[in-house]
């Protein structure tokens, strides 16, 4: 399969990438690892007129701690995230999720920024981003902007990213000390994508009352979502199995369940419940 012809240009800096996006009159697309975009272009589902290669923009690479947040440069690959010492020390759940993306070859090329900007409804990172109050760092014609992940992800392959802006980094809140986190996923047996993926972060007081809970779910529907009703139910309550089960039964309530040949919406809702219960038992048990 061969993509439609396009022009190819390289950007050496973020301002240059913005200028090239402007010059492309809405026909431009950024490419880094290309592991979301190139497959779409080969199917001719995406036919950008100009590809702007940003893979040499070094300021968008690497991982750092800024205050209580872990900032991951948009060009950092999933393989790099999975082995990064700062990630493993402060946000091991991000490494846990990164290891479950695609396969070794895909993780070697695919980037965190590309994954988030692509907004595939079955991608793994959106669930983690939602559970860790992620913020998407953009730079555009009017300067820098920080957009909370919930305002960034709007639908399947749809984001609020302005046409001439670049995703430069994603920052994740390091959860309070004493909390536990996990990402559990029901793999599609053929594609490896998340049929349902649940990221849960939970903590409890010495008395066993839940004092921190965040749950993000991906794959189930058109857009990854936070399980606000389940979180609200559990917050402040004793972290008992009964309460966890009741919270998990609310897991699908905040999302629109999708349906395809592989999994009905009813089945997806069931998987949301089962995987949320497993994740909560792991982090609050």
């Amino acid at each position: 399969m061969i993509p439609v012809s396009f022009d190819y240009v390289r950007a050496a800096s973020i301002p240059e990438a913005i200028q090239l996006l402007k010059n492309s009159n809405g026909e431009g697309k950024l490419i880094a690892g290309g592991h979301s975009l190139v497959p779409l272009m080969k199917f001719r589902l995406s036919n950008p007129g100009t590809l702007i290669d940003i893979s040499d923009v070094n300021e968008m690479k690497g991982v750092g701690i800024v205050g209580s947040r872990l900032v991951v440069g948009a060009l950092t690959t999933h393989a790099e995230v999975a082995e990064d010492t700062a990630v493993l020390a402060h946000l091991p759940v991000l490494a846990e999720a990164a290891k479950q993306i695609g396969d070794m070859q895909v993780r070697n090329k695919g980037t965190v920024g590309g994954n988030i900007a692509h907004a595939d409804p079955s991608a793994d990172l959106p669930a983690v981003a939602l559970a860790l109050d992620a913020v998407v760092h953009l730079t555009g014609e009017d300067g820098e902007e920080k957009v909370p992940i919930q305002e960034f992800l709007l639908g399947p392959f749809i984001t609020s990213l302005p046409e001439t802006s670049v995703v430069t980094a994603i920052s994740f809140a390091v959860p309070p000390a004493g909390t536990q986190s996990t990402y559990l996923k029901y793999f599609h047996p053929a594609s490896g994508y998340a049929v349902v993926g649940v990221c849960a972060v939970g903590g409890k007081t010495a008395e066993g009352l839940v004092n921190h809970v965040r749950i993000g779910i991906t794959g189930a529907g058109d857009c990854a979502f936070r399980t606000e009703q389940a979180e609200k139910f559990l917050f402040g309550k004793p972290a008992t199995l009964e309460n966890i089960k009741q919270a998990a039964s609310l897991a699908a309530a905040d999302g629109d369940m999708g349906e395809d040949l592989f999994a009905s919406s009813e089945y997806r809702a069931h998987l949301c419940k089962v995987y949320t219960e497993r994740a909560l038992r792991k982090v609050l048990g």
Binding site: M1, F6, D7, Y8, I31, G34, P39, D103, M104, Q105
Partner: protein, 173 residues
């Protein structure tokens, strides 16, 4: 008319150049321009891994990389592993443990294994199977492939130990 790009890649240690359309995929550059047909095209949708090559020391699927993205990179294909007279330990492992039947997927599998073993010479069976997640073999059922990888890892470990032992025996340390 789309502007063509001059790309220069080091393939199996030799610098090669080509003028390419931006839409040309790396796998086609290797096969059609450089005549390195050991790299296969299977699914063409980044699922099967038959097109796996090493790019700057990492295993990647060359059907999902544009040739222009590989400009300036070092590429290793299956042709760069060993020769018929002197098989690479990975190739010898597949030979001895019968890690293939039809052999179509084998070049990509061996390059994925190369990616695994360069980072981990002592992989557990689970780690081997995880590294094989991005390649598909429809003949073998993977059992013999896992054995071939274990054999290759052992051969490389042994040869490294021997090469470490040699100077000590020679008294040159």
């Amino acid at each position: 008319m789309t502007k063509k790009w001059n790309v220069e890649v080091k393939v199996n240690g030799r610098v090669k150049r080509a003028e390419v359309e931006p839409r040309l995929l790396l796998v086609h550059l290797l096969r059609d321009e450089f005549n390195l047909t050991g790299t296969h095209i299977g699914c063409d949708t980044s699922q099967c891994g038959a097109c796996t090559v090493m790019m700057d020391g990492k295993a990647v699927k060359s059907c999902t990389v544009l040739a222009v993205q590989a400009d300036g990179a070092e590429i290793q294909t299956v042709e760069g592993l060993g020769t018929v007279d002197q098989l690479h330990p990975i190739q010898a492992g597949f030979w001895e443990k019968h890690g293939l039947q039809c052999g179509f997927c084998t070049p990509g599998i061996m390059m994925a294994v190369n990616g695994l073993l360069q980072d981990n010479l002592n992989p557990s069976e689970a780690e081997i199977r995880d590294a094989l997640d991005g390649v598909i073999c429809r003949c073998t059922g993977y059992q013999f492939i896992v054995k071939a990888v274990q054999q290759a890892a052992e051969t490389i470990r042994n040869s490294q130990q021997q090469s470490q032992v040699v100077p000590a025996e020679g008294g040159s340390v």
